[in-house]
């Protein structure tokens, strides 16, 4: 692997360590998954001890947490939110719905695989995943960050045309601003 831990520069290692310990989450609370976020953040599971912290706007956030199925209508908003986030940024697909559509596998207006539209770094499966699973997912993401492997944003930039094509396929009234940074 070219992105070996050893190949990282020392600056990157420090940066990644900081990033790993400070995950600002923008929870995109679609579907039933949103209900799992409060227990994750509050006293019982207390995700904050990992430096995970909810943020209000995409500008401030590092992690986009897509919690559940995405209708084509909401997909547009998710893409918008994702594109407004600043690099480096990560996406966690939350629940089965983001992997294969889950219980909406045959719905005409939900997307089945989130990765086709925005680059997902970590999936957390389950319907719904318990807070423990969520935290596990976050820890997985932290590992990836530390190794410098959470490069979804780079992928998105490199394969923007492909992503755009996919996105435009499901979103009919396309009027998003360009994404070129």
């Amino acid at each position: 692997m070219p992105n070996d831990k050893n190949s990282q520069k020392i600056v990157d290692i420090i940066k990644n360590a900081a990033r790993k310990h400070s995950l600002f989450v923008l929870a995109y609370g679609t579907g039933c998954g949103a209900i799992e976020i409060p227990p994750t953040m509050t006293s019982r599971y207390d995700a904050e001890r990992f430096g995970i912290r909810g943020m209000a706007t995409p500008r401030q956030a590092d992690v986009l947490l897509v919690t559940g199925y995405l209708a084509t209508k909401t997909l547009k908003r998710v893409i918008r939110a994702y594109e407004q986030m600043q690099d480096p940024k990560y996406v966690i697909g939350f629940g089965s719905c983001t992997i294969n559509g889950g219980m909406y596998w045959d719905s005409y207006n939900t997307i089945k695989l989130l990765d086709k539209y925005i680059p997902v770094d970590v999936y957390i499966n389950g319907c719904m995943p318990r807070p423990e699973a969520v935290i596990t997912g976050f820890i997985e993401l932290q590992k990836l960050i530390a190794e410098g492997k959470a490069d979804g944003a780079t992928k998105y930039k490199e394969n923007l045309d492909w992503y755009r094509a996919n996105q435009k396929k499901v979103i009919k009234n396309w009027n998003m601003p360009d994404y070129n940074w």
């Binding site: 006293s43 904050e48 940074w181």
Partner: protein, 307 residues
């Protein structure tokens, strides 16, 4: 440049580093305490250092105009400048943290502190986010509220010590061997109540209310902008605490005393905030113009007629 200038420049830097460190650590401690009160483990105490460092390391891809750059810069400028004019330690011979504290006074500081808020507000305004504007509107309105008891308390102090400079007030305390919080307790209470608003903790956190305003003025600030805001916020927290300690608690003769005093003082708004709900803006203004102002007036009268 001679050696003295170099040393004083080093002193500046040391002060800033100290203020930054203390301020950021306090932020972490507050988070920890909050977590403990909420029966959580909470993040590590150094969590805020991670946050700020991470934010600095983030790329900043977009801006909404040059005021968005200048806003945080204003804020940092204001906080660092205010810091320069605050006596961190009260020893007269103290060299490292003396900075410019003989060249400014309380009224100057009051205005200097506002400079930061205004800069922030302008930066927030430039982004065009309505939430930012609402937040600014609330924040400034609230500021009008708490400035009144705060200034009343300061006036009481100034009248009592016949000095408007912080060093003057500290000298008075040293000379009389007492603390102003005992000398004019009413003023101290008024100032303390004003301080609740100054730190923007609940119940006076309507400015940043994340749930309704998506963090208010900061909502379009990501990455380095946010980092700068957090930096200046941390330094400001230290500035305010140091100021309080200086004028009400006789200052601190060494860093440990400083840390202890500021920490104790800091716990007032923090602890009060953690267990409080949130006031609406006009409620908080009315709150500040109610009892705190009355106590402040009484404090002034107490100084004038009793002392």
């Amino acid at each position: 440049m001679d050696t003295n200038s170099w040393i004083s420049i080093l002193g500046f830097i040391a002060t800033v580093v100290l203020a930054f460190t203390v301020g950021v650590s306090y932020g972490g401690i507050v988070r920890k305490i909050t977590a403990r009160i909420q029966n959580r483990v909470g993040p590590p105490v150094y969590q805020n250092f991670f946050d700020i460092f991470k934010l600095y390391s983030k790329s900043t891809a977009v801006n909404h105009g040059w005021m968005q750059h200048l806003g945080p810069a204003f804020a940092i400028t204001a906080s660092v400048t205010s810091l320069m004019f605050i006596p961190v330690l009260n020893g007269q011979g103290e060299f490292w943290f003396a900075n410019l504290n003989f060249k400014g006074d309380l009224i100057f500081l009051l205005y200097m502190m506002v400079f930061g808020s205004l800069g922030m507000a302008l930066g927030a305004g430039q982004t065009g986010n309505p939430n930012s504007a609402i937040g600014v509107s609330r924040g400034l309105s609230q500021m009008v509220g708490y400035e009144i008891p705060w200034v009343l308390a300061l006036v009481a102090l100034m009248l009592q010590t016949k000095s408007t400079s912080i060093t003057g007030i500290m000298d008075y305390q040293i000379a009389h061997g007492t603390w102003m919080m005992f000398e004019s307790p009413l003023a101290f209470i008024a100032a303390l109540m004003a301080m609740l608003g100054m730190f923007h903790y609940a119940p006076f956190d309507v400015t940043f209310a994340p749930a309704e305003l998506s963090s208010g003025p900061a909502s379009e600030f990501g990455g380095k902008y946010l980092a700068m805001m957090m930096t200046s916020g941390s330094i400001f927290a230290f500035v305010k605490l140091a100021l309080f300690v200086d004028i009400f608690m006789g200052g601190a003769s060494n860093l440990i005393m400083l840390v202890v005093k500021t920490f104790l003082l800091y716990m007032v708004p923090v602890l009060y905030g953690i267990v409080s709900p949130r006031y609406r803006t006009e409620q908080s203004i009315r709150y500040f113009w109610g009892w705190p102002t009355l106590i402040g007036v009484l404090g002034v009268l107490y100084v004038v007629f009793v002392r």
